[in-house]
């Protein structure tokens, strides 16, 4: 199943056997998404929580 990264627009491929709750990430910007729903060849993704940049400096 193919969709696009909402952050950078790159093509995002979700494995055909993906399950709800699985995390997929964008190859270009590594934004992570959680598979929220699957049905009839389509997939709904929602942004997954990621650790922000904080080097403590």
């Amino acid at each position: 199943m193919n969709t696009n990264c909402k952050e950078c627009g790159a093509g995002l491929s979700v494995p055909g056997d993906a399950i709800v709750g699985e995390i997929v990430s964008c190859k270009d910007c590594s934004t992570e998404y959680e598979v929220a729903e699957i049905g009839n060849g389509s997939v709904l993704l929602k942004p997954a929580e990621q650790v922000g940049e904080d080097w403590g400096e």
């Binding site: 909402k6 952050e7 950078c8 627009g9 270009d28 910007c29 590594s30 992570e32 940049e53 080097w55």
Partner: protein, 353 residues
Amino acid sequence: MVRIGILGASGYIGGELLRLLLQHPEVEVTAASSRRYAGEYVFRVHPNLRGMTELQFSPNDASKVIAGSDLVFAALPHGESVKIVPQIADAGLRVVDLSADFRLSDRGQYPNWYGYDHPRADLLEKFVYSIPEINREKVKGATLVSSPGCMAITAILALAPLLKEKSLGIDRDHIIVDAKVGSSGAGGKPSLATHFSERFNVVRPYKPAGHRHSAEVEQVLEAMAGEKVKVSMSAHAVNMVRGILVTSHVFTAGAVKPIDVWKAYRSMYTGSYFVRLVRDKNGPFRLPDPKLVIGSNFCDVGFEIEERTGRLVALSATDNLVKGAAGNAIQSMNLMLGFDEKTGLAMAPLHPV
């Protein structure tokens, strides 16, 4: 094999040209000149090349280089190149010049930025200022090529797509370029400022205003924008031997989303092997860092957006001696000679370094 002559081969850029060209499958270096080291083996000045060549430096004699070469790289200081290169150009040889002497197309800019009147202004319009990712087709047909300054090309590769993409609404009067550069950017000639005790651990501002590379950055960005731009540039010497990080600040008229900026970069660089877009959500290297391009011809480009102030921060990193100098020059040569532009340049960066 195409015969290559290198004028000014004893400096750091000359050494880098030799390192890369000695491994290039389509060319043979037939002459490497140096006024200071004429007669000396190349590997005694560039000890990393021991066992790779038996070449000896020849004097900076244009007529001998012309006789033995099909294409000449000139890695001479600014103001020196213009004394020798015209003779080679007039002889009909292909030239890739790495000095600033043929970078600016407007003769009137030379007294302002380089302090001399250009003696061969007729050649300025014949030289193609080469950044293959921006003007690849022009470089393919060129006989005479000028390769950009290291900080200039690093800044241009981050900024050109932003100025070209009109929908981003970049303020053309306030483009701020802040460069951090390693010690090899100052060349191989020692001075008190480059003495280890003085240079080590510095974060030394130099030319915080009026940097010469502003002129060539403006020249390219004006071509992208189709109108005048103003570039304000500052440079800093930092504690690296190789590498440049340029942080450029531009301001947008309205809100800009990351996906719009990605689109601008992809529209210019998709298919360009040597520009990598780096804006990662994970790991310690989320944005360009010179540490990850050292030894390679890559320029890594990334960005961040500050919505509150309308600021778009564009970051770019190169190895100043490769994509910032010798690598870009060889990439240009590849195009001039009809080779794949990656030939002899596809090496991965070193890591860790």
